[in-house]
Symmetry: C2
Subunit: 392 residues, 2 copies
């Protein structure tokens, strides 16, 4: 008999579960429209592919520095400096196999048992499991966004913050709401954290950077004076360069945190794939040219969804402004989100993700991914609309 394995209290990410359902149905030959996963459908920029091929041919197949190639760290830091993040020198950067790994390493470095982590909910599905994995003794305090506009609920947030707060996680453009933070909101948030939680760091998950397509530009949290010296910026190329399968990300942190993160990275991953880092350098050199068309498409899809919601009494949408998702209020249907998603898949073969995956109290919302090609997206939204209209 084998000894008992630990039952870790870690859920399967709901976002991946819906992806699996869609794959399974497709494998059975059933047409499925997935408004589930957040994976850009365009191709990795040719310059990145070419640089990676060249790096492979030139033998960049060996260990590199645990913290990342100097030229890539310089590009990452320079990019943030250009946008007002002052604490961004190459020495502040640690390159990791994906933004998720960067987030985990940061949490592992910062959290001690009893520390509190404040999450603005709804939020990305992996934050809670990552906190549990990084430090089982840390406590998550979920603070719901305002339901009518997804702004921070200021009095509730003020109450969540305190001397035991060790980490506040922000994520703009936001998954799942598509919300941006205005400059005013950012400075208010920064002041609140600095005043009420003087021992706290802010982890700014800015992996949807560059996907601020709706008019409001991303204000990096690391550029907000009251928290600039205590902000760790998480970034990556998965979303903005359609490099989800490459696994390349980074953290940019105050020196002491970056040094500790470099040590964790060294013992966890040794280094990040060397030739992929060379390819990543080309992504910076290439700039954002290819991205403009994609940003317009996302904007158009958001518009389609918004017009549909406006014309349907039972749907309500806070129009998304960035990222890859919208968070649709389906309370008017009387269905719980889980039920809504299951029946929509059953009757209309459209995959969406129930809102409660992103925060306990969001059982009356569903997340709609904007990543399906526009024609397919339109069909999916129109099937969703018809499904809602057909409900008793």
């Amino acid at each position: 008999m084998s000894p008992a394995a630990v039952a870790l209290d870690i859920p399967v990410a709901a976002t991946l579960r819906t992806g699996a359902i869609a794959r399974a149905r497709r494998a059975r030959g059933e047409p499925v429209i997935s408004l589930g996963l957040g994976e850009p459908e365009f191709a990795t920029p040719p310059a990145v592919l070419e640089a990676t091929r060249r790096a492979l041919a030139e033998g960049f197949t060996r260990y590199s520095s645990p913290v990342g190639l100097p030229e890539l760290r310089e590009l990452i830091a320079g990019d943030l400096r250009c946008r007002g993040v002052l604490l961004a020198e190459p020495g502040n950067v640690v390159v990791t196999p994906g933004a998720k790994a960067a987030m985990f390493i940061t949490l592992r470095v910062l959290l001690r048992p009893g520390d509190e982590v404040v999450l603005l909910e709804p939020c990305y599905v992996s934050y809670r499991p990552q906190v549990a994995l990084a430090c089982p003794g840390a406590v998550v305090r979920g603070c719901d966004l305002r339901r009518d506009d997804f702004a921070p609920d200021w009095p509730a947030l003020a109450e969540c913050l305190g001397p035991r707060t060790r980490v506040v996680v922000t994520n703009f453009p936001n998954n799942p709401t598509g919300r941006m933070l205005t400059p005013l909101e950012l400075s208010r948030l920064a002041r609140l954290v600095a005043e009420r939680a003087p021992g706290a760091f802010v982890i700014a998950d800015e992996v949807y950077d560059r996907l601020d397509w709706g008019g409001v530009r991303l204000s990096p949290v690391g550029a907000a004076a009251p928290v600039a010296d205590r902000t760790i910026t998480i970034g990556g190329l998965s979303k903005r360069c359609a490099m989800t399968g490459w696994r390349i990300g980074w953290l940019v942190a105050p020196a002491e945190v970056a040094a500790a993160a470099g040590l964790v990275q060294q013992h966890l991953n040794t280094c990040t794939c060397t030739f992929i880092q060379k390819g990543a350098c080309a992504a910076f050199a290439a700039g954002d040219d290819g991205l403009d068309a994609y940003r317009r498409e996302l904007d158009e899809r958001a518009w389609v969804l918004n017009e549909t919601a406006r014309a349907n009494d039972r749907l309500r949408l806070v129009p998304p402004q960035g990222g890859l998702f919208a968070f649709l209020d389906v309370s008017g249907t009387g269905l719980a989100a889980d039920d809504f998603a299951a029946r929509l898949l059953e009757t209309s073969s459209v995959v969406v993700t129930p809102g409660n995956a992103f925060g306990r109290s969001w059982t009356d919302h569903i997340r709609v991914s904007l990543c399906a090609p526009t024609a397919e997206f339109r069909t999916g939204v129109s099937l969703l609309d018809r499904f809602v209209r057909g409900l008793p």
Copy 2:
């Protein structure tokens, strides 16, 4: 003022530190012979490079399953089954960005505060930090190998094992000693673990698999009946395919452990780079043809070192039989290992790693890497010999 960052009690890996010293001296234009790092000097097999290029061209740039591509998991499992590891079906495999990540994930899944981890020392430098990172409340019990032949010290090991033992880590071919385990030693070890530590898992770090060049073939721990159902095999392509910079590894575990490891991997890394996994498949198809020449070279370098040690009264070597390292007894010099390494670098520009990096009590040994090209290796060893003879 920034809030205080956590001072994690994680040392810089001594093996990487020596590499950094060597790089720094080379950057200053000083010739250095590195017998430090364990990185094969041959090139990644062409078939792997070609398969990776093809995968890039064919768009394998997106998310893949968190646990790995089905075809790669089948190849990994099949390879182990061929060598007697019965608990190796594709469902037992989780592909990770490197063997180090596989080890960390396994420790994270298994360890609970108070659990004991038995390490046979000297051992790989990252095991202790990895235990501390995975579960700060777990306790490491180091059990020294016999000093005259690097076999397990059976009575001492029996004493280390008990009801609180949760994990026993084995590593053959061994880093740093180059030792293999004979089939008899393996069955003895397996029986001892099963009898004295019924709640324990064995983590068999077999990342130096295929580098059993000295005559004794690797006996996979997962093939030893008493512990077969509680063994997690860690593997990777870094060493046997000179793919250190690619970051591709895996764990093969009992179903319950594999399932939990898959969840941790999902929240830690999402997945392993998709096109690198395609390349890894080609490594299995290519077989071990290219490896024979390299194995002969390692064998020859080990011979050079052994002959040198035999002819020098102050050196003693247990001849290595596999892997990339030898562990040289320098107690006859009267110098502590740290001091020996520092003075050897100072006077002779040869980098070695002090033995105490691999276990506290090994202050009278140094690790010699067999990875330098043979001519350079000969020069390095002869400089080392001359250095020792010149000591008072």
